[in-house]
Symmetry: C2
Subunit: 431 residues, 2 copies
């Protein structure tokens, strides 16, 4: 394969004509594919159906410590659910609050609470002229949407395969009191699938923030979402690392079973220090009498324990692998050596991150859409929807079938090629 | 029966000695009764167990319009749940958002959203020097806790059997731009069990608030919670009344199945104008991808429709009536004519409101507690926990059995008598 940049203008023009013909043909197929979000596929959801049998009209509705889950109370969740979610995050159960159906809501609430009431006695952010968050990029669009919604200024921090650029994080956090938080997906990051190295986690734990109310928003969304048996990432427990480093209160950790049981009907949890929990409780006890404990019990009865969770996730992995492999295989076969894109090959999580040539991402996404395939909007992986290089595209293989993923990826590489050729031609015209 | 106030000092002293002896005896019984909260009783919860069978591993998990409830999406709830909750509130489904497990959380979020982002473009309340709410009293402590949490000044408005003092509401709301809301439990109010008259609802709908972002927080918590077949309160639909009066956006209505299916594992809903819904959606779409649709579907499959809900609530009524009657019978038998207390006799809801002699409520609640019975804290039915007359006590008969309610009420009337005698003796000593 010759890299596109080494082709002559004439060769590029010939190639463009061929690609355009293929693209017209692809459009004619009337595809309808959605790779826009990290939605579980139907087969994966089917695997969780027995969850619905774990409680029925004959069930004992009391927890191990005698709480009737049908009634009011237990603000911080039932004990056995705390244990389950603690194991999932690798933390102690006494640091866990088991919540409602979505960790996203817990993150929103955490930011909102800080905005309205401050953090452990600090000035509420709504009273401050300026609040800033660090945002490792590319990252998760819904994180950025929360901070944007509260008028929080977002600062891009580049991601590396070991995690965010920690030199930059350390410098900014220690110098600027307006920086109150950082969004992290520490394991199988969204969208790159990178996992933070031990050194990164330790440097996080040892941060010396200028703001006392600085918190690390540690979204451990893919804690048990491995794709392979023999290639699994593990990360250090940030809570205990923070404690060791003398920063016990510096982190809010989040996780959920949205991508384990049912999306939107799972259970979510938060883990943090006792002092943070006491602070959170002040608002939480006003906001709710308690989360849905019946669903918490349903999950515990179904999964039983951490081993049960892991066994279930092995079944998910068996479904997900062929989808990822379909994408990776075609990307490699079609694009290796062309110099028009690179991509990640994660050991887990829900996404593959694709780096197109600068200035090409929007055009590629638009071309795909025109031919019937919806991708996550270009730019969505950056704060304010602005990818400075217009190069990052998030590929979400979870929802379509492996067969559809092949079709989708074939269309995708075609669009990448076409847009890249157009870009190179425009560049040499401009030169 | 002679009224206590007509007894001589000597007669009061003799009575006091008798009552004290009875009280010591009662204390000796080692009772453990909890009438502090409006918690459903165990038999009532047992009635809802078939809810858990309405979805199992064989169920069709699609809604009537084809949404897979196990996956992400449907921010405003599934269509059939909208219809069910709309019927419960007596509103149109297109005005309904079906939410999570608690209407309290929806109310908190509604206040919080106004605080952080304003209401339909108004200045966010966090930027204002002063925000006030009207609070019909006695009322629901958790409402007052929300407004207090956000630093909102609460103004007491007296309740009448027809609803809040509307002369006062109209005057205050029209004069003071800082008044942004009023807490209402329009049907079987907490704690008195009063229902707003048609005139009251129409006067609400016709309010001319000085503040454009004034909203009526209409907590229709007991919409279908009748106690009797032949004595049922009905109230006008505030949404359509507001629309008729040219104030379509003035109300947020809330309800839930917390006291229909399971407390804390039911489904909640909000009803409001299309314009308010569009405004709310801006925050809601950041806060969540969607509520628990599986539980929404579970409820619809179980209750089927409004008739199903009503049939279920007739069974609840059959359980609740003997508890209410146990209380009312003993109150009447023991206190009629003594002039030391009055109480409500509601047609529905969860509470009986007791008015002791001024200055006696705290002492009665303390006496009950000393003998093993926990009541809602005296003062809890008023903003800031301050009952200006120290006279109101909320009785919650829902959780104990009828037999326990008899024991509890016997102890209660004993404490009422004893504290009243002590008060009268202290008063004549003071005079």
């Amino acid at each position: 394969m010759r890299a596109y940049k080494d082709l002559s203008r004439e060769e590029l023009l010939t190639l463009k004509a061929e690609l355009e013909a293929s693209y017209e043909e692809a459009k004619g197929k009337g595809l309808k594919l959605d790779m826009s979000r990290g939605k579980p596929g139907v087969s994966q959801l089917d695997m969780g159906m027995a969850l619905l049998d774990s409680l029925n009209s004959e069930s004992d509705m009391k927890t191990l410590d005698g709480v009737d889950v049908r009634n009011y109370g237990s603000l911080e969740g039932i004990t056995e659910a705390k244990y389950l979610m603690a194991d999932m995050m690798g933390v102690h159960p006494e640091n866990v609050i088991v919540c409602g159906n979505a960790s996203l809501t817990e993150m929103y609430d955490a930011v909102c609470r800080s905005f309205t009431h401050g953090v452990m006695g600090s000035i509420p952010w709504c009273k401050l002229d300026k609040v800033k968050f660090l945002c490792p990029v590319p990252g998760y669009d819904r994180h950025f949407a929360i901070t944007q919604h509260f008028g929080i200024e977002m600062i891009n921090v580049p991601m590396t395969p070991q995690g965010p650029d920690m030199d930059m994080v350390e410098k900014l956090v220690s110098e600027d009191e307006a920086i109150k938080g950082i969004w992290c997906v520490p394991k199988y990051s969204n969208p790159q699938g990178y996992s933070y190295s031990d050194e990164t986690v330790r440097r996080f734990a040892a941060l010396k923030p200028a703001a006392k109310d600085f918190r690390i928003y540690w979204d451990n969304a893919y804690a048990i979402h491995h794709l392979y048996e023999d290639r699994q990432d593990e990360i250090l427990d940030i809570l205990s690392e923070c404690e060791k480093a003398g920063n016990p209160d510096m982190v809010y950790e989040f996780c959920s079973t949205s991508k384990v049981s049912f999306s939107g009907a799972g259970i979510a949890a938060m883990a943090t220090s006792k002092a943070n929990m006491a602070d959170i409780r002040k608002s939480l006890s006003i906001q709710t009498i308690g989360y849905d404990k019946v669903n918490q019990l349903r999950h515990v009865r179904f999964f039983k324990d951490y081993e049960g969770l892991k066994a279930h996730m092995r079944k998910h992995a068996a479904l997900m692998r062929p989808k990822f492999e379909a994408v990776l295989g075609i990307l490699s076969k079609e694009l290796d050596g062309l110099g028009i894109g690179s991509w990640t090959n994660p050991n887990g999580g829900y996404f593959i991150s694709f780096e197109a040539m600068d200035g090409c991402a929007k055009a590629i996404v638009a071309k795909c859409k025109e031919a019937g395939m919806v991708l996550t909007g270009a730019g969505a992986t950056f704060p304010y929807g602005k990818d400075p290089k217009d190069s990052n595209i998030r590929i979400a293989p979870s929802f379509p079938t492996p067969e559809e993923m092949k079709q989708a990826t074939s269309l995708f590489v075609l669009c990448v090629k076409l847009v890249s050729v157009e870009k190179l031609l425009a560049d040499c015209q401009g030169a």
